[in-house]
């Protein structure tokens, strides 16, 4: 597996983990605040494992923290979907679902990978992702079916996020079919529609990001950039 691809996986996990953690302490229901924080922790844990692996391939003193904290936004390879602002709870849920529906078949496949390191990380993460997928699917259905207001909010969420779904799958063509099946089936349960004729936006893997990622990294990397070379 190429270093770029491993970084792509790591960046996806870190950026989404970071976004979700912005909810910690601000969730709509205490139990769900805890659940989303858990997902954050899982994703950041996955990112750390992947960065550590990438760092051994890169050498040159690279570590999980140099990779996370000292790369500029044009070196980040995450898909655009994960860097978008959280929006309301429904958008966060929808994004998590769309992402988990991709990550689940991905880690399933990588669990059989010849790359021993990736294989081990995927196996370890698959259990977590199975839970993320179930949790987010249930919430998509709950909010899709709940009230007129929640349904409207979920419809908005789908419309807002759909343009970024092509970018999500661009570098994992093997997962596309399973992703589509999963999304169709959950949307059907949730009485939500897949929007038609959407203009797709992509470029995350190539480092062409939105200004949201720049803002996020400014905040995240602030201490490491201000006080370089010290231990924390």
């Amino acid at each position: 597996m190429s270093i770029a691809y491993i970084l792509h996986l790591a960046d996806n996990a870190l950026v989404l983990g970071h976004r979700n953690s912005e909810w910690t302490g601000h969730g709509p229901i205490l139990e769900q605040d805890i659940a989303l924080s858990n997902i954050s922790l899982d994703l950041i844990g996955q990112a750390r494992n992947l960065y550590q692996y990438a760092a051994t391939l890169i050498g040159n003193g690279a570590t999980e923290d140099t990779l996370a904290y000292l790369r500029d936004e044009n070196e980040y390879k995450n898909c655009l979907l994960v860097e978008l602002p959280n929006g309301h709870w429904g958008t966060t849920i929808m994004r998590q679902f769309l992402f988990s529906a991709y990550q689940h078949p991905l880690y399933e496949r990588l669990s059989d990978s010849n790359d021993e390191n990736l294989n081990a990380i995927a196996r370890k993460s698959l259990k977590e992702v199975t839970y993320h997928l179930r949790w987010s699917s249930e919430w998509v259905i709950r909010l899709g079916q709940g009230t007129a207001e929640s349904r409207a909010k979920m419809t908005d969420a789908v419309n807002d996020l759909w343009p970024y779904t092509q970018d999500l799958l661009l570098h994992s063509p093997e997962e596309k079919e399973k992703w589509q099946e999963r999304v169709q089936s959950i949307f059907k349960h949730a009485s939500l529609n897949i929007p038609a004729d959407v203009k797709m936006i992509s470029g995350g893997f190539e480092g062409k990001h939105t200004s949201h990622l720049v803002e996020m990294l400014n905040e995240m990397q602030h201490l490491q950039r201000t006080y370089p070379g010290v231990e924390w």
Binding site: L14, H18, S21, E22, T24, G25, H26, G27, P28, I29, L30, E31, Q32, D33, I34, S37, N38, S40, L41, I44, G45, A47, R48, Y51, E64, D65, A68, Y69, H88, W89, G90, I141, R142, L143, Q145, G146, T147, E149, S150, K153, M216, E219, M220, H222, L223, Q224, Y227, V230, E231, W232
Partner: protein, 312 residues
Amino acid sequence: MPSEEVIFQDKVDREIRIEPKDWMPADYRKTLIRQISQHAHSEIVGMLPEGHWITRAPTLKRKATLIAKVQDEAGHGLYLYAAAETLGITRDEMVDQLHAGKAKYSSIFNYPTLTWADIGAIGWLVDGAAIMNQVPLTRTSYGPYARAMVRICKEESFHQRQGFEILLVLSRGSKEQKAMCQDAINRWWWPSVMMFGPNDESSPHTAQSMKWKVKRFTNDELRQRFIDICADQVKVLGMQLPDPDLKWNEETQHYDFGPINWEEFWQVVNGNGPCNKERMTARIKAHEEGQWVREAALAFAGKMSSRAGVRG
């Protein structure tokens, strides 16, 4: 036949736990609801100052540890709300009281977190003071509260060690990091000392609470213990506590310490601390913006159970 009141006090005296279905004096119930809900609110509001640094934590490991810590505090809030609910109040009612300004939470969370070192100082001092207050509560007379505290105290001591370790790394770091470390200790020390509440002579409920074994030690006893421990620990950091009067007293075998600024304490308790408004605004905002989610979840649960009803 002895009166219910006598039976109750006899149980308390013999260290038999009072359980939700047992008879208890109305004031005991009221005191516990106030104390436990206040404690629960403190856990929840306490998520905010530290949560503020999750997105800026300096390493991935620190970020993960901090998320886990703040998440633990949410868990503490949950156990404590559940314990209070056994006394005949709902979580919704308690949360409403908090948002209406009718219920208090620990004033310590009305101070801002200005640098990364604050995360260390909070863990070391604030969680440290909380432990000092809470370990005796694992033996408090009300069963559900005592049991909740056992679990909570385990996690709090983990938080305290993590906080101290953050400061330890800073204390051995660059000039800027050392200054950051000392500055955070300076700002968090006195508010932490005040976490034990007013002096015993100005704490009118202490005697009753001790008789009920809701409380086991007085505010001043716990405060002294805390100061004694911190005065030694700060030496490991090579830092100083901001108290020129702090001095070991051979005679009392305790540290003497300087006067506490009770004026500041009451100011913050009464809503005039640096962040009182900010904290409540954040909690109310989260609550209001979550309204539609809670309504949808409720509506969905209703639909599911009526469907199950038709099938059954």
